[in-house]
Symmetry: C2
Subunit: 264 residues, 2 copies
Amino acid sequence: MKENINDTMGRRPLILVTNDDGIGAPGIHDLVSAVAGMGDVVAVAPDGACSGQSSAISVNKVLRITEHSDYKGAKMYSVNGTPVDCVKLAMHALLDRRPDLILSGINHGSNSGNNVIYSGTMGAVLEGCMVGIPSVGFSYHSHDQQSDLTACREVVDRIVRTVIESGLPSDICLNVNIPKGDSCKGIKVARAARGFWTEEYADYKDPHGKPFYWLTGHFHNEEPDNPETDLYWSDRGYASVVPVRPDQSAVDRIGAIERLLGQQ
Amino acid sequence: MKENINDTMGRRPLILVTNDDGIGAPGIHDLVSAVAGMGDVVAVAPDGACSGQSSAISVNKVLRITEHSDYKGAKMYSVNGTPVDCVKLAMHALLDRRPDLILSGINHGSNSGNNVIYSGTMGAVLEGCMVGIPSVGFSYHSHDQQSDLTACREVVDRIVRTVIESGLPSDICLNVNIPKGDSCKGIKVARAARGFWTEEYADYKDPHGKPFYWLTGHFHNEEPDNPETDLYWSDRGYASVVPVRPDQSAVDRIGAIERLLGQQ
């Protein structure tokens, strides 16, 4: 499958686009459209919806790549795996050089607050960051796949142009959330709001009387009035940008744990 | 399914045990054995191998709970989902009170270095931390499910007793890795080593000549001589303990990104 996709295209940035809603989702087409003029674009996305896949990888499964029709000049492929699988396999089997930028989205639904830990959109972005490529995830605060995402265009355009021009610190990637509506008031850099899920499962009985469960519930923001947080700003009509670090080591807690375990 | 599992058991700590190798793996049985005397133990684990599931959740799937025979006095259940599903569903449908402690493992294989981002073992632990419960993951540096894990017993015993007695800072959980061998030299608190995967896929052709791929490769440690890192110590016969923070917001980078985006 390694076909020198870009070998005639000179020195434009190579942009790998993925998502977790699948290759058929409107959001990835909007993202491809938004960046088509900025570089050589290749989209490699799951073959179906992969929400909630976090940084999952397919360990015991055969992976295949399917080629789709080009869109706005971009090569389009699907993989029967997770968003992280798509990034890894694109780099292994599809791209003839390292991408200069990895973009994920536009996700249909919020990836704000500490809830982002479950996000497949951000799983792909963290993967990009871990292999040293500037990476950004975009999410739009509506699950309606018929939403008009043109309001996102300005935010995507500004952030992607900035990252192409200036790069990112190598230890972080960006999580961008765009509020509902036709436009947004501006961009605010923040941290993830703390919260938790409530009423997490719908309970059912099958026709034999046996219980089964379906994940549901909603995110309860514990700090809705804190302007340090992403949700504060998206609730007020701004796009939020959270710098995200894949390394979760809490270096500032090493001393405390050493004392706890009697090491100091 | 909510059956007041523990309502006759008084005030002993309630310990929820899970893993990502599945309810049938030797490692979870070893972990249950190691902590059986320390509290009321309930194990809720995936019904099969779930390696590489990270913090994935089952969004569009019916979940079911299956009860298994008790083991060393512990109730044993399986769920047809991910490690995070197991934690969430245990709290929703099986436990009659909040667990005092969540333990995951003992994983058959390392969860060291920044590679830990893919770990289902640690996905469950991060979930516990996010809902405010002291949580610890244990991994043993051998994939051989026939390994003698009794060497792990001392490490598990010491860490679990400490956490039951003293708790943990609420914003972190622990990732414990135990080196191969019959014993370990001691315990060292560290951060995750930086590295990356090499030769990530095996390439095949199916009988029709079409390509398919299977994830493989090995972790390349970029800082093998750095005593700040977990792998430095496990390579030298020590158990490593990494304090891990679910919130990946890089607060120290907010200013840099504001400047990049022209916000300051």
